[in-house]
């Protein structure tokens, strides 16, 4: 293992990971046409944001702010809002299935968006 000594993990590592995760989510939203999978890609992007919050919170704690957990608490709120978003989005999916009989977002163009 001597030749495999890796550099210590820093907040930058987490930020780069979160950036990659966010970009994967962007690719999913742009390429998939199924509304459910687009919502899953959005969940990926929200999770990338959560990783960022926790990493910056870790940076604060490492810099001496042992009593500062604002990043983790904000991440909790992100998770709660993501739950609300999933409930509404999936209800919209069911309503779409009922009225248009399709989940292809290219065919759902009533509002000419």
């Amino acid at each position: 293992m001597n030749g495999m000594m890796l550099a210590p993990v820093t907040s930058m590592h987490y930020l780069v990971l979160s950036l990659i995760l966010f970009c994967i989510g962007v690719v999913g939203v742009l390429t998939r046409r199924n509304a459910i999978i687009i919502m899953m890609s959005i969940e990926l992007m929200l999770n990338a944001a959560t990783i960022n919050f926790v990493a910056f919170n870790g940076q604060i704690i490492a810099a001496g702010g042992h009593d500062n957990h604002v990043g983790q608490i904000f991440a909790l709120f992100i998770i709660a809002v993501a739950a609300a978003e999933a409930a509404i989005g999936l209800a919209i999916v069911i309503a779409l299935m009922r009225t248009r009989d399709s989940l292809n977002v290219d065919e759902i163009d009533l509002m000419k968006g």
Partner: protein, 177 residues
């Protein structure tokens, strides 16, 4: 032990790619659950145990079951696979790559991100010196106390948001009588 981070990061990236590329939506959900578990493990690495528990309970437990229910409710034959249009795929990859590069360059240039070493999963006993257990085990207590004192108002507002979301979901999904 930095390699724990690298293994988890690899799991996150590979399973996220699988989420985006699997033709079958149910498979996507399964890979997404794996992504969420790996992200939760990353939270534990950073000492955010409470957040990791919430991530597993709410995301991997609640939201993903909701997704599975809806996929079972709608006709799966309607669910089409990965996009066939090569132009759209390459445009999306180019756009995401541009985003990746530009934000990466911004990381380098802005200088707000100090490369602070974070806890990376070394077992407490393996580190030099005695470990203060009161510092190690207090995350749930600290975050929970703050959530119900300093952040009480946002906490209550989130409950209102969830209530509105539930009522809205029922209104949207209800069969019109």
């Amino acid at each position: 032990m930095p390699f724990i981070f690298y293994i988890l990061a690899l799991v996150v990236v590979v399973s996220a790619l699988m989420v985006v590329t699997r033709p079958n939506a149910v498979h996507s959900v399964m890979w997404l659950i794996l992504t969420f578990f790996a992200v939760a493990a990353l939270f534990i690495l950073q000492g955010a145990e409470y957040l990791a528990a919430v991530q597993v309970l709410v995301y991997a437990g609640g939201i993903m079951v909701l997704f599975l229910f809806v996929i079972m409710l709608v006709k799966l034959e309607q669910v089409e696979g990965f996009v066939r249009s090569r132009m759209r795929l390459s445009a999306a990859v180019v756009l995401a790559g541009l985003l990746l590069v530009s934000v990466g360059v911004a990381f380098r240039l802005a200088g707000v991100v100090q490369a602070v070493p974070l806890p990376d999963g070394g077992l407490p006993g393996s580190q030099a010196g005695p470990v203060d257990l009161s510092l190690v085990s207090g995350n749930l207590e600290v975050v929970g106390t703050k959530l119900l004192t300093i952040y009480l108002l946002p906490f209550e507002l989130v409950s209102v948001i969830l209530l509105v979301a539930v009522v809205g979901a029922i209104v949207l999904a209800r069969r019109e009588a």
